[in-house]
Symmetry: C2
Subunit: 281 residues, 2 copies
Amino acid sequence: MEIIKTVDLMQQASDTIRMSGESIALVPTMGFLHEGHLMLMRAAKDHCDQLVVSLFVNPTQFGPNEDFEAYPRDTQGDLKKAEDVGADVMFMPSAKEMYPPGAQTSVVVKDLPQHLCGLSRPGHFDGVTTVVAKLFHIVKPHAAVFGQKDYQQLAVISRMVMDLDMDIQIIGVPTVREADGLAMSSRNSYLKPEERISALSLKKSLDLAQRLFREGEKKAQVVKDFVKSYILEHPYTEIDYITLCDPVTLEDVNTLSDGTLMAMAVRVGKTRLIDNGRLVK
Amino acid sequence: MEIIKTVDLMQQASDTIRMSGESIALVPTMGFLHEGHLMLMRAAKDHCDQLVVSLFVNPTQFGPNEDFEAYPRDTQGDLKKAEDVGADVMFMPSAKEMYPPGAQTSVVVKDLPQHLCGLSRPGHFDGVTTVVAKLFHIVKPHAAVFGQKDYQQLAVISRMVMDLDMDIQIIGVPTVREADGLAMSSRNSYLKPEERISALSLKKSLDLAQRLFREGEKKAQVVKDFVKSYILEHPYTEIDYITLCDPVTLEDVNTLSDGTLMAMAVRVGKTRLIDNGRLVK
């Protein structure tokens, strides 16, 4: 696996791959890789000849009171995991390489960020779309792979690619979970043992909503109230949002239907966790 | 010359050119081509193997009270001129092809548009950067050529390319003028004969400023006042702005120095004209 740290060298490497007739898949990550990331990489390898993984903890997508400094890092472990799964290139630029002084351009998706996590994380998605647009211009991939766990991020990036005519296939991969159902996340490393037990309430509440829907419940408010009470029964939990919404526009729905998205962000202790699922008949 | 009207076909054509090892230069235009555009095309041909010209009157860069509907159009004439100068592809999409329903993404440069034309044309440069980013993703050029007559546009696009790591060389071509000095512009076609005489005051005032600077004048305000009076001596003129500014940041300067940019927008009758030049020792 080749390690590349500058924009110029990455662009040259990608030009060489493209000119050889091979295709490139990109998996953008913030590192501290877990099985979820590795699944994205395996999906990427299924789609393209060459796998580029990027490792960059992007400062511009963290709010002033968020966990940028504390975000878990393990570069050596990440390199080994990416190599083991068969990545061809690891692109790991410095913050200075990505944001030299004077930078003043951003890519802004207007409506989709005005829902779900965008409400409690103002500016977050501008940071995401801008850094992903940059990574796309640097790595020049034919396809890029993102997890459905970050459902809104996947929706926003898909919208950006469509609106700006980027010739890149966006692939969404289903959420990978621990044996007990907890959605894999680098932030799970923050959880104390007793908090981890409460954290299981997120996935369980998704299953609960699914059961209510299958049993005939059509009112979003009823399901939301039920799920909210269920989560709050668990110690250390505090709800940021629970939303039942249209899976394309992310706008709230009053009436549930096949495919409605249920998404949530819940604090467990100091750790903010997200999860989501689609209601299926 | 091949005529292409859809995003998909243009991307395929560009992929084919790139895979053959040839380079692509793009000249984005809003049509009604004049000698200024043709100079951009010749410069493009000097830099790359294949010349793609785009023809798209971009609605999103016109304000609600601007001349989008009235903007001069001559598609048959444009096709002939581009072909005669040796363009390989004319990309001419419809507005519906460029902005399908639901589009909500824009590329925003923050500071540079807060000067010169950006002040009297709010949103104009967001429209420009967004459509140019789209054209770059569609045509996939190695180089793109813009006129220095639209100095701020060239600065904003150069900034976008740098900030978003687009692997595209931006080439600026000096302003092409009529024999009497008037900077070439599609909007010159709006001028009545008596207005056209007054319009010459723009270029003459640039020469005047240059002479004052060479004679030792260092105060921006003195030059600005002088030039302003000079232009207003001509009938039908109304000044939008006259600025003496830093050529990189576009911020006003008080003291003139080698390379200071003088830029102006002046209405002559109902026609808004722009011109600029750099002061040289």
